[in-house]
Structure formats: structure tokens, C-alpha cells
Symmetry: C2
Subunit: 156 residues, 2 copies
């Protein structure tokens, strides 16, 4: 005879994908952060700002916020401390007085070019657990999941 009681749902954390993503992400970001924080005293938000400015100089703070998925307060604070350390410089926008254009200083650029290979190396270390085919597959599946999350799980 079939049981009448509906089995109560349980959660096996080790198989729960949001949890696995979080643990993996924290480990990897933490490993990278350990390097640049020890070597240059950079916080995670600071490095994120430097990363986008190294790739695309002249962005406004708002642009940086969008590209890094940070909020504008975090960006404002990271920029303030990066300017104090003379790693980022600010210029007024010709047309819009509310905006400032941000870029790495010479010193900031030097740091950027020292961190990037390290970051790429650690990424490669992680991905070396996968074969070439598997890497391409993982890349594709991550894109699908990111699109789905963007669609269904808006921030804030």
C-alpha cells in the first residue's frame, strides 16, 4: 500500500548548485585576492575598479559600477582610496559636469600589468582540471546559466 504522507523536502547542501557555486567562487576569488592584497594592499572592490579601468580607461563611476556589478557607493569608496594611493586619476567631463572620467595612473597601470598575468595564471590553474573540450563546454554552459540568471534573478 502506498504511503499517504508526502515526504518532506530535504536539502543536500553538497548537491545544491547555488551552494556549490558559492563555495567555488569564494575559494577562487579568495585565492586571487590573497595575492593582490598581500602584494599591493588592494581590497577586492579596489581591484575590480582597476581591472575595468585597465581594460577600458575613461569610464565614469557609473560605467564602472555597471561593468563590475558593484553599487555606486562601493565604487565611490574604492575610487576615493585608489586616488589617495595615486593609482587612479580623475578628469572632468567636457560636456557633463556631474560626470568624472576615471583612468589608471602610470603607477596604477604598472600594478595592473603585474596582477593580470597572475590572475590569468590562477584561472588557468583552476581550469587545468578540465580538458580542452570540457573547458569549451563549461564556458558555454556558464553563458547559458548567466543569461538565465540575468533574466530571472535581477539584482536588488
Amino acid at each position: 500500500m502506498p504511503s499517504e504522507a508526502q515526504a518532506l523536502a530535504r536539502l543536500d547542501l553538497d548537491r545544491f548548485m547555488p551552494y556549490r557555486l558559492s563555495v567555488l567562487s569564494n575559494r577562487v576569488s579568495g585565492a586571487i585576492a590573497r595575492h593582490y592584497s598581500e602584494r599591493f594592499g588592494l581590497s577586492i572592490p579596489e581591484w575590480r575598479v582597476m581591472a575595468v579601468l585597465g581594460d577600458t580607461p575613461g569610464l565614469s563611476a557609473r560605467d564602472v559600477a555597471i561593468r563590475t556589478a558593484m553599487d555606486k557607493v562601493q565604487v565611490s569608496r574604492a575610487v576615493a582610496s585608489l586616488m589617495r594611493a595615486r593609482r587612479v586619476a580623475r578628469a572632468e567631463d567636457a560636456k557633463d559636469g556631474r560626470i568624472t572620467r576615471l583612468s589608471l595612473t602610470r603607477q596604477g597601470t604598472a600594478i595592473y600589468h603585474e596582477i593580470v598575468p597572475l590572475a590569468l595564471h590562477l584561472e588557468d590553474l583552476l581550469l587545468s582540471a578540465l580538458g580542452a573540450d570540457e573547458r569549451r563546454t563549461f564556458d558555454r554552459l556558464m553563458d547559458k546559466l548567466a543569461r538565465q540568471a540575468r533574466l530571472l534573478m535581477p539584482p536588488a
Copy 2:
């Protein structure tokens, strides 16, 4: 004629796997957190503690810390506030006076059984971007990456 200058490494954030993992993980965890925080006033660390206790009652705080990848301070604080809210109870260990055995109260269990289906539903919503084969593949690749990260990128 071949260029002599070695191109300086650049970082394309949109293709950088640690960054993509972080954005995806934050979006998904944030979406789940929004629900249980609005509905029950639970913080992320609090929910994590409840999640492992719901699955395995009788763990010590240290066990909880290991299983959730949280540190012992976070666990201590989450447990303290969960006990205030009568969602978690504590019992002395028969053999070791330093240890306390944690479990969900009846009230905590009720909340657990309400959140779990929601969490599983959101996981499913995310994974519905993938076909059945793709899901299995993603699962396997995540396991490989997690193992690699555990090996090469120890916490702290």
C-alpha cells in the same frame, strides 16, 4: 616583419571565469536570500546554519562551520540569534563539556520545510536553462573544478 614588443596581458572581465562565477553565484544566492529574508527575517549565515541542521541535527558548532564553509565566529553569531528567535536549540554533549549539540526547534523545522522547496524551485529555475544532458555535464564539471580548487586554493 614580426613585432618585437611582447604584448602586455589584458583582462577581459566578461570572459574571466572567476569573475563570471562570482556574478552568477551572487545573483542566485541573492535571489534565494531575498525570499527567506523577506519572509522570515533570516540572514544568509542564519539560513546556512538552519540548512545543515535541518539535514543533520545534532552537529556541533564546529561541524556546522566545516559543512557550511563559514568560520566559527560567524557560526557562533548566527546560532546566538537563531536561539534568541527560538529556531535553534542547544544541548550539552554527554562526553565533552566544550561541545554543544545543535538542532532545529519545532518552529525552526517548520521554517526549514517551508524554505527548502523554494530553494529547490529556484535552483531548478536556473538549471532549466540547460537540457538534461547538459545538466549532468555541468554537475560533473563543477565537481572537477571544486576538487581542483580544494586542492590548490585552500581557504585562509
